[in-house]
């Protein structure tokens, strides 16, 4: 995609995406509410949505920022517990839910900030191990905080129970859309390019006057925020939270989604989150082999294609349309080329794939 010539003008490009996404939402929602899609599949689809948000948010830190945080499940746990507690206090009122979600995201982001500032001073392996330690500490705190506080907050090992089940398909996928849109626009902005430059070469970008600490922390905090949102959706989807659900294994599962899809490709993250959530459901008989295959895939992909299957490639519907139009018109167009990256744009649109 070197000579990107944009034939479809900018507002129209967004319009096409938004319209398609809304159509997708309405059609799917209708199918689920009417019971055409059975409850089981509806549940799996919601779960896919949660995993998409998790993968896309981790992709900011891993793919765009080039760091390797191993405590993503910790941020998810914070978001999940925060919004679950709020929802329980509000006894399941649907109007509170969006606020509970955002509160979960904000608290997770706050922790992202607290952990990010010291962690991001460190390089690669140290950062990985530090975030891993952080994730474990979160889990230990969730387990034992009640003994310290003297009253029941997280309910220890038994976990928070009877959380109002407020998550449904529509909310989940609206959040998926918002997440992808925000991250996409952020990555296309000046800030996004600064973040990418850190991945490419931190020292060089620093010497170009980019405040690397600021941008690293920014990326980290945004990543934590959306992990918190995903946690809130997860809590509302499942109704019970126990600390053991947010262990190191969970962080790795999210990482596998990102790595497999391609570090730096939002489309890749969305695709692999979808497949890695749906496929085990379809192949329940081979459950014993699932984790073995996951880890093998991780190693093989790293050895043969370290950037992940999609690399940094991102699918863009408009890009495709552009190409098609160009093909029909031949080579007569003489438009002023506006070389611009199109990273991440496709993610929102990817879901139309299901409609076809």
């Amino acid at each position: 995609m070197k000579n990107n010539e944009k034939i479809i003008p900018m507002p129209l490009r967004y319009l096409i995406n938004i319209v398609l996404f809304v159509v997708f939402l309405l059609v799917m929602n209708n199918l689920i509410v009417s019971g055409t899609i059975p409850k089981y599949y509806a549940g799996v689809i919601s779960f896919i949505g949660v995993n998409i948000i998790l993968a896309v948010s981790l992709n900011i830190a891993t793919g765009y920022l080039g760091q390797l945080p191993l405590g993503h499940a910790g941020f998810m746990a914070i978001g999940a517990y925060t919004s679950a507690l709020i929802m329980k206090a509000a006894s399941g009122s649907a109007t509170i839910f969006p606020f509970a979600l955002i509160a979960g995201g904000l608290i997770a982001a706050l922790f992202g900030l607290i952990i990010g500032i010291p962690a991001l001073r460190l390089k690669g392996d140290y950062l990985a191990i530090l975030t891993l330690g952080f994730g474990e500490i979160i889990r230990v705190i969730l387990l034992n905080i009640d003994n310290v506080l003297g009253f029941t907050l997280t309910n220890g090992a038994a976990g928070l129970q009877k959380i109002p089940k407020t998550t449904n398909f529509l909310i989940t996928f609206i959040m998926v859309g918002i997440t992808c849109y925000v991250i996409h626009t952020m990555m296309k902005s000046r800030h996004g390019r600064a973040i990418l430059s850190i991945r490419e070469n931190e020292i060089a970008s620093e010497s170009c006057g980019i405040n690397t600490t600021y941008y690293k922390t920014l990326g980290f905090v945004v990543s934590a925020f959306f992990a918190g949102i995903a946690g809130g959706l997860y809590a509302g989807n499942i109704g019970i939270l126990s600390p053991s659900a947010f262990n190191f294994m969970k962080s790795i599962e999210i990482l596998v989604m990102v790595v497999l899809g391609g570090m730096g490709s939002m489309f890749g993250s969305v695709l692999s989150a979808t497949v890695l959530t749906a496929l085990p459901e379809a192949l329940r008989r081979f459950e014993d082999y699932r984790m073995v295959v996951y880890s093998l895939v991780l190693v093989i992909v790293m050895i043969f294609k370290p950037s992940g299957l999609m690399g940094t490639y991102d699918f863009s519907l408009n890009g495709l349309l552009d190409k098609l139009i160009l093909k029909f018109r031949g080579n007569h167009t003489e438009k002023g080329a506006m070389p611009q990256e199109k990273k991440g744009e496709a993610a929102v649109r990817k879901k139309e794939g299901k409609l076809k």
Partner: protein, 292 residues
């Protein structure tokens, strides 16, 4: 008073296992700058080999010990050849993810083959309790501490005084220049992995003496804590790894002794975070400047 001594010995005993594992981490990190996540899982494999040898092949404990150490050594070298060598020139991130992948692969393969419930490893080393200053100390505790101290001394000798040790130090200093000086890079790195994994093998034997169970996930937490020990002591430094290991063991024993045992893991990782923030080079580590 005797209570304090008992707790000290408890701490030293678990600390010396951490120390042995941390030595392996430190060596590998020192030479190829890789956090070898799979190191803890090599211990798990060693424990299963010892179990297989004693329960299914009915071998004597001595043979089982030797077999376990050989298996760990081989496994370490194979992992290095298959997974890490192809990635030597790749970004650090890829190498780290591969290491995590290998670690998970070993764990899940073990779970697939041996099932999730723990296997009981028969006693490998037995002996009478020893009376030290009016305090009975378990034989395995003494063995564990002594073996790990001897291992560290031998290892220091190996690195400081032998030709291979010189090659290892050269490679860790500057890989390219070391090659120009006629050092065989591949064999040196493989040797490092072999030594590190053999230490893990010894660690797995000592582990099984004290905690006679083999389970698929036994290596992961042990490995992580040993890594914390390596970082605390100063990664790349052999005496540092030893000191770090003992510190972590004692810290755990202390936390448990004052009745806060549920926060043990939290404290270990909190130590890690504090060390990384205030003294990232650890107790005995050197500052390494990143080259542009």
């Amino acid at each position: 008073m005797s209570l304090v001594i008992s707790q000290l010995i408890n701490g030293l005993q678990s600390g010396s296992i951490y120390a042995l594992v941390a030595l392996g981490y430190s060596m590998v990190y020192g030479i190829i700058m890789l956090l070898n996540f799979a190191h803890g899982d090599i211990i798990m494999v060693g424990a299963y080999v010892a179990w297989l040898a004693m329960v299914h092949l009915a071998l004597s404990p001595i043979l089982a010990i030797i077999l376990a150490i050989i298996a760990c050594t081989l496994l370490g070298v194979i992992i290095e050849k298959v997974a890490y060598t192809p990635l030597r020139s790749s970004p650090r991130l890829s190498l780290l993810i591969t290491a995590i992948g290998i670690s998970f692969l070993l764990e899940n393969l073990a779970q697939l083959i041996f099932k999730a419930d723990a296997k009981r490893v028969p006693p490998l080393i037995t002996g009478p309790s020893i009376n030290i200053a009016g305090q009975y100390v378990d034989f395995t505790a003494i063995i564990t501490i002594v073996v790990s101290v001897i291992s560290m001394i031998l290892l220091t000798f190996l690195v400081r005084k032998t030709k291979m040790g010189k090659a290892m130090r050269a490679v860790s200093e500057d890989m390219v220049t070391a090659q120009l000086m006629g050092i065989n890079l591949n064999s040196t790195i493989s040797f490092t992995f072999a030594v590190g994994s053999a230490l893990a093998g010894i660690g797995s034997i000592l582990y099984c003496c004290t905690y006679p169970q083999a389970s698929p996930t036994m290596g992961s937490m042990l490995g992580l804590k040993a890594f914390v020990a390596a970082v605390l002591g100063g990664i790349g430094s052999l005496p540092g790894a030893m000191i770090g290991g003992f510190c972590i063991g004692l810290a755990e024993a202390f936390v448990s002794a004052v009745g806060l045992s549920v926060w043990k893991d939290g404290v270990v990782f909190a130590i890690l975070i504090i060390v990384l923030i205030f003294k990232p080079t650890g107790i005995l580590g050197k500052v390494i400047n990143e080259k542009v």
